[in-house]
């Protein structure tokens, strides 16, 4: 490179200089502020870092890819976002660098070179004559201004005397502090961000794991060694177990970060207020660190993390840690077998067979408390504890999964007791509940027996025959054909109801009856069905005379019929009843290392201090120009401020009153 071209390169109007100037302009800075604000909105409107399948469902395959490519699922670490942020930092840095020398000078400089003419043309100025000599006045003024907190200097300006004074020179420091603070905070924040991980991934040194694997099978490329780097991740540890790693969520997968110590969870506790709301979440932790003489024991809680060697451990969440469960499985169809007792635990999967169908039962959750508002209650804010529940998924041989939530104890509604079981086809739906009426012994036997009776063709046939006879008793002469067909119809109705609920019965009525007769016959059919259902029920009750039944039986019958009617939509061949449990919890810990934290905090303190200095300690300058006039002097007082000019108006008046001798006092 020749000398000339290098000169040109660094010359006044060379491209780098112009670029530098452009980067330091206020226009760019303000544009960047606004752009950053608008860009930030995106990440609050679109929920960030959700499972990628959720986005796929939401946007469809085309837009999913478009949005993914511009990093909308993790906006705040998208390259373009970081570029805006970096530009803002550069712009601020250039601005500060350019202004620092003059600001520092301005903090000290009393401007003793100022001309009388320019003082006289200032917005705030006042002139008067005094009998005292300039030197005397100057000494007085200097003392008075010093008392007001001004720094002063006296200079001789070709025979005239000039007192220059300044207060609040520190105001310029406010500018420097606030703007340097922004750079410091961003640098600190960058140190704690996941940019290094992104770069390592980009260079192919690490690979994000997207599969759900046991820890031992996670490949080496997805593991990060203990080091000085920042990270933020989480791990769920069951009671009595421990972990030496933490999982860092990355886009649609995760990385495994090793810890230099082992965290053991002894116990996790939830305390509740009297009204059932959670009061505290606490974990008793033991840190096994080879560098410690003995393990460190500490209890952490929300708002009370443990910091060990720069690793901060937070109480973040809780989950089931594999509770041991004893579950009784009641087939709805008694022909599929007797009820069985299953010994299982949360996260256990097993294959089951009921009748001719194969199912996979996945136990997913156990909850000791279900403190929910009662939807039937007048006051929805009043909550109560519905006791333990289990969550599980039944997967059919075709892979179709249905999720269930069964409560251990019956729940009382209007004096009747029900076993509640929630069912839904996908996690995005709300549970709809099957209300299984509890019998007099708080069991489901009563319901199951009734269901079994309805399936008993022989019994149903007998009862249908009896009902037919009762119904046709008034006919003048018996009609065997009619009897036969009515009995058949009653049996069919019951069969349809047990198989397909009211839906199938209704469908049958609509399809098999001519439209003209439907109006009158449909209610008759349903009435007959109800009568049959009642007869079958009371056939199983001791002393089964229909007219001396009590309310309890009527209600039970009604609830049982409702439950059977909705069974087809329950999609499960069995009812699982939680019999016994041993609660094992897991504590969700968030573990973070943020080496930039103190830099950010330092910057934040600078920012706060700087702002108050900038806004509330204005720089105020005063000058008194003293010309000799006879034995006395001619006084010119002038002043200026860099902030709050309207407050300065009043201040200048006060100063004037202070320095200018009051006529009345003479």
């Amino acid at each position: 490179m020749s000398e000339k071209s290098s000169l040109k390169f660094f010359g006044k109007n060379s491209f780098p200089r112009r670029l530098l100037r452009f980067l330091g302009t206020m226009e760019l800075a303000i544009t960047l502020l606004i752009t950053l604000a608008i860009a930030s909105v995106i990440g609050t409107v679109l929920q960030q870092n959700q499972p990628y399948t959720d986005y796929l469902i939401k946007f469809g395959p085309f837009w999913f890819e478009v949005f993914e490519s511009v990093g909308l699922y993790d906006v705040y670490s998208a390259p373009w976002f970081l570029v805006i942020l970096t530009l803002l930092v550069i712009s601020t840095a250039i601005c500060v660098t350019r202004h620092t020398p003059s600001m520092l000078k301005d903090m000290r400089n009393l401007r003793t070179q100022v001309q009388r003419k320019s003082l006289a043309s200032m917005k705030h100025n006042e002139q008067w004559a005094s009998a005292d000599a300039p030197a005397t006045l100057a000494a007085n003024f200097q003392q008075q201004l010093k008392d007001e907190g001004f720094r002063t200097r006296l200079t001789d300006r070709n025979g005239a005397l000039l007192v220059s004074a300044m207060r609040g020179g520190i105001n310029r420091l406010g500018y420097l502090l606030t703007h340097i603070a922004i750079v410091v905070i961003c640098v600190g924040g960058l140190m704690d961000g996941n940019l290094p991980l992104k770069l390592a991934e980009w260079r192919g040194q690490i690979q994000i794991e997207t599969r759900d694997l046991p820890l031992s099978q996670i490949p080496q490329e997805s593991r990060l060694a203990v080091g000085k780097q920042a990270f933020r991740g989480s791990v769920s540890i069951p009671e009595g177990r421990s972990s030496e790693v933490v999982f860092l969520p990355m886009r649609d997968g995760y990385l495994v970060q090793a810890l230099p110590f082992r965290i053991e969870l002894e116990e996790f506790r939830i305390e509740h207020y009297d009204n059932g709301q959670p009061k505290s979440f606490e974990s008793d932790l033991v840190i096994h660190d080879p560098e410690l003489d003995e393990p460190l024991r500490q209890t952490i809680a929300v708002n009370h993390p443990l910091v060990h060697k720069g690793y901060a451990i937070y109480q973040a969440s809780f989950a089931d840690g594999g509770s041991i469960l004893q579950v009784e499985a009641w087939p709805f169809d008694h022909r599929a077998g007797d009820p069985v007792m299953l010994d299982t635990k949360v996260f256990d999967n097993r294959d089951m067979r009921w009748g001719d169908r194969q199912y996979r039962l996945e136990m997913t959750n156990f909850r000791l408390f279900n403190i929910n508002p009662d939807p039937t209650d007048e006051e929805p804010r009043r909550v109560r504890n519905y006791g333990p529940s289990i969550g599980f998924i039944l997967r059919s041989h075709t892979g179709e999964a249905t999720e269930y939530e069964n409560y251990m104890f019956p729940i009382e509604r209007e004096g009747r007791r029900f076993y509640l079981s929630g069912v839904r086809g996908s996690p995005s739906e709300n549970f709809s509940y099957l209300h299984l009426p509890a019998d007099a012994n708080d069991g489901v036997e009563g319901f199951m027996e009734y269901l079994a009776r309805l399936r008993d063709r022989e019994l149903v046939g007998e009862i249908a025959q009896m009902m037919t006879r009762d119904a046709l008793a008034d006919l003048p002469e018996p009609d065997a054909n009619l009897e036969e067909s009515l009995q058949q119809t009653l049996m069919t109705l019951v069969g349809m109801f047990v198989r397909g609920g009211f839906d199938e019965v209704r469908e049958f009525v609509e399809n098999s009856l001519p439209e003209i007769e439907r109006q009158t016959l449909a209610p008759a059919y349903l009435g007959m069905l109800r009568e049959m259902l009642a007869r079958v029920y009371f056939a199983g009750v001791e002393g089964h005379e229909l007219d001396n039944t009590d309310n309890q039986n009527i209600f039970f019958l009604q609830d049982a019929v409702d439950a059977i009617g909705s069974l087809p939509r329950y999609h499960s061949p069995v009812f699982l009843m939680l019999h016994d449990y041993e609660h094992i919890q897991a504590s969700g810990l968030q573990i973070a290392r943020a080496p930039g934290q103190f830099i950010v905090y330092f910057g934040s303190v600078m920012l706060m201090a700087g702002l108050f200095i900038l806004f509330y300690l204005p720089q105020r300058r005063l000058w008194v120009w003293l010309d000799a006039e006879g034995t006395g002097s001619r006084v010119l007082l002038a002043g200026m401020t860099n902030r709050n000019p309207r407050d300065f108006d009043g201040f200048f008046d006060e100063i004037q009153q202070l320095l200018k001798p009051d006529k009345r006092e003479l």
């Binding site: 502020l33 906006v75 009297d274 505290s280 993390p305 934040s604 702002l611 309207r646």
Partner: protein, 385 residues
Amino acid sequence: MSETIRQNQTDSQSWLAVGAWWTLLLLATVFILVAYGDHLDVYEVTILFITGFSMAWLGKVWPPFRWHALAVAILSLFALQRYGGDLSMAQQDGWLNYILASQSAFMWMSAFYIAATFTYFGGLIARSDYTQKLGSSFAWIATTMGMTGLMVRWRESHMLGSDIGYIPVSNLYEVFILFCVVTAMIYLFYERRYKTRGLGGFVMLIITAAVMFLLWYAFDRNAHEIEPLVPALQSYWMKIHVPTNFIGYGAFAIAAMIGVAYLLVSSRAEKNPQSHFVKSMPSLAAMDDLMHKSIALGFAFFTVATILGAFWAAEAWGGYWSWDPKETWALIVWLNYAAWLHMRFTKGWHGRPMAWWAIVGLFITLFAFLGVNMFLSGLHSYGGL
């Protein structure tokens, strides 16, 4: 000479009053330390001292604040005495039932803020200085009742159960009251200092809007009921993070309402500079300046609040910044006002565009304050509707 002497007299009188004020504060602080010292940790004692010093300073530069604080203290202590530790006294005791139980106090607050709005505007229309002064008095009474209500509610939460009590700034209902009180206080400070009574009605308008929301929220949603605190909020940080934030919100709200007044006056002044409305309002330059002061105040406190929030987040959520919707919107609000202030300082923008921008700023702030809780989900969801 006599002028000077009188000056010195008032000086010594005012120093006497300040001295008495500081002595009272000192006694109150000592009393709190003696009575409750065992329950306070080092952070809470620090907060107590910060509060003491702030009140000492505020009372010195702003004499009416001393009377306000004294009135709040007396009313609150009287209410506590009537309660005597039994929450059911709220219905049995006449004083509590009609005036001092927190819910009654808030109703008085609401009534007086609404009354203040009408009186301020009434005085402006009827050209009556006296009526406008009455507006100021109503605003003071409302603020005193609101503050008393908050103090009493603090105590009521403790009476609800030994493990429940907390400072009433934990949910949307409580912070709305805080918003009303803080906004009114900032305005009343400016009103005395810059003689801007014409702006009173405009500022009270936004407070009235907040009051309307409060009434709906209490009567329709029963939001006034005291609920125990969720674990994430059980921290001394709440005591400083929330009030600091609301000084910011309050100042931004005032700036926006001054912006509204500015736009009205300037459009009126264009048509008729001699109109009564233009003359009875503060000058355009004064409003412009006050708008700027308000935003500067809000910006300073909002910055502090956001930083305190970050410090708290580092203790509660495992990181000082998580790009949670609330945090992000706080940043957006901050960036917006930072741009406003830069335009003003370095580009010298003023007048109408800045007034419009201040109004837009309030909507952004409003979204950060309310919209985030209503429409977006995140960690910071303590005040759902």
